[in-house]
């Protein structure tokens, strides 16, 4: 690891995200003054262009296949449609208004409208930046896209397509953008020093908690708890998990905002945590349920990737093993949570993203090591960081849960959340889209 590399990341992150300690911010300012004029670093820019494409791939085909395989055969198209429509819808929302609400100067809670329609977002890097602001905007946009797509798993197999669209647009503007501002856009959580390298709170807790709200409000699927509602195509799900794993290198290592040491750390911790969580889930399942399952391996991989996300650039590879294993173990039991909560969270968004994201955010406060680029955590003599992480988790949960309830109620009043019982039994592919995935004879 080159000592200078993490500093490059600091410079970019300090300016864009303002989540660093005052000392690091001071260092970045010094570094910025030392430069004659800001210029595009082609290496950094090439990596963030690549990372942006990798994260886009996570939503479709990655998440689309992961979720598509988990539903029954008469709902697979509806889930693929919701994922691809998240890409299309949020892409537009983000460039028009989402980005400025997240990253405009604004106040501690939300950005302003100074960059509405990407006004003033150009290609010349600002002071201390090494990539075009336009590229940073697009990289962040890919996170805005995948986050509401994650929620799809909670209301799968019964939500009206029109309700999904309205909810997604509202959620993206009124929940994702402010939360992103809190953590990365100069808002209060970032100012307090909450560590979130690539979106443990912003992406995973937010989607997991909103998923719980959605599953509770829309109600259980017909037959839930009485008849099997098994996955219809696990090869899809495994292919999706593989694409997510690969795409996550863009998600996490790209969050270093440069081709540097911090990106390398995040790359290694991401892969290591995913591996540790996969092994943990499979072996715990084998021991407690009698068989190691393929779905268990795929679910464990995603649980580990979720868990390491907030910590990726702040912890050692050995800590990543602990964070990944903890993620695999907690999510394995976390998917039972829905039964206790009485929520038919169809594809386990709460159990994996909610639980894994919460564990990851807290674990970041435990395992963070300043030598890797952030601040020290509990294990390195700074218990205060864990408390800041707890604040971040709780604030995110309360905001996203209440916010999602309000938006879902509003959507329900506008178009109704749920398809008819008849439509649900027939399957959303036919009722909502007049299409079938697998020919006319089932």
């Amino acid at each position: 690891m080159k000592r200078t590399s993490p500093m490059t990341a600091h410079v970019a992150r300090a300016v864009y995200a303002a989540i660093l300690t005052p000392l690091a911010v001071l260092a970045s300012h010094t570094a910025a003054w030392a430069q004659d004029s800001p210029a595009i670093d082609t290496g950094d820019t090439a990596w963030i262009l690549t990372s942006t494409a990798l994260v886009i791939m996570m939503t479709a085909p990655g998440l689309a296949l992961f979720y598509g395989g988990l539903v029954r055969r008469n709902n697979v198209l509806s889930v693929l449609m919701q994922c691809i429509m998240c890409m299309a819808t949020v892409s537009i929302v983000w460039v028009v208004i989402g980005y400025t609400l997240a990253f405009g100067p604004g106040n501690a809670l939300i950005g302003d409208l100074s960059m509405i329609g990407l006004a003033g977002v150009g290609v010349e890097p600002g002071e201390g930046e090494t990539i075009p602001p336009l590229l940073f905007m697009m990289f962040q946009g890919t996170f805005a896209i995948i986050t509401p797509a994650l929620i799809v798993g909670a209301f799968a197999e019964r939500m009206k397509f029109s309700a999904f669209l309205i909810f997604t647009v509202l959620w993206s503007i009124l929940i994702y953008s402010p939360l992103c501002h809190w953590v990365w856009g100069g808002g209060w959580l970032g100012e307090r020093g909450a560590l979130d390298f690539a979106g443990g709170t912003v992406v995973h807790i937010s989607s997991g908690v909103s998923a719980l709200a959605a599953a509770l409000l829309i109600g259980k699927r017909i037959g839930y708890g009485q008849e099997p509602l098994p996955p219809h195509n696990l090869p899809f799900t495994v292919a999706g998990a593989g694409l997510l794993w690969v795409g996550w290198f863009g998600f996490n290592a790209g969050s270093a905002l440069g081709a540097n040491g911090s990106a390398s750390i995040a790359f290694v911790t991401t892969n290591t945590a995913a591996a540790a969580a996969t092994l943990t889930w499979v072996f715990v399942e084998w021991a407690t349920r009698g068989k190691p399952t393929v779905l268990g391996a795929a679910s464990g991989a995603v649980a580990g990737l979720v868990a390491i996300t907030p910590a990726a650039g702040f912890v050692s590879p050995m800590s990543a093993i602990a964070i990944g294993a903890g993620g695999g173990l907690l999510c394995f039991f976390g998917i039972r949570l829905k039964e206790m909560l009485g929520a038919d969270d169809a594809l386990d968004v709460v159990g994996i993203h909610g639980v894994g994201g919460t564990w990851g955010a807290l674990a970041t406060g435990v395992f963070a090591d300043a030598a890797y680029g952030g601040t020290d955590g509990l294990l390195y003599g700074n218990p205060g960081q864990l408390w800041i992480q707890v604040e971040g988790v709780l604030a995110t949960m309360v905001f996203c849960f209440i916010g999602a309830i309000v938006l879902l109620k509003l959507t329900d009043m506008l178009v109704g959340l749920r398809v008819t019982d008849e439509g649900e039994i027939q399957g959303l592919d036919l009722t909502e889209h007049s299409e079938r995935a697998y020919g006319s004879i089932d």
């Binding site: 099997p228 098994p230 399942e285 349920r289 679910s299 998917i335």
Partner: protein
Amino acid sequence: MKKVEAIIKPFKLDEVKESLSAVGSSGLTVSEVKGFGRQKGHTELYRGAEYVVDFLPKVKLEIIVSDDNVAQVVETIEKAAKTGRIGDGKIFVLPVDEVVRIRTGERGDEAL
């Protein structure tokens, strides 16, 4: 003419087909089916939720034969499909009133 309908274990299909070819059987139709008899289903496990699956996959053969060949065809299938374990399947013999070869218009045994 008779219709011989056999429900067999899927992995026995090739063996049955080859044995039937060896005794000169001229054609058959197969389909993938599901069902249950004495053989119990199995348990499937998805994210910790266990599902008991009652319907097991089987292969159904349908062969139309002349009355003279019924005994031989039934015996051939019986031998080739047998493993001796529960779930080997069943063979049904049904009467067939008429057979038409669509291309030529032949009727009865001529059309087999």
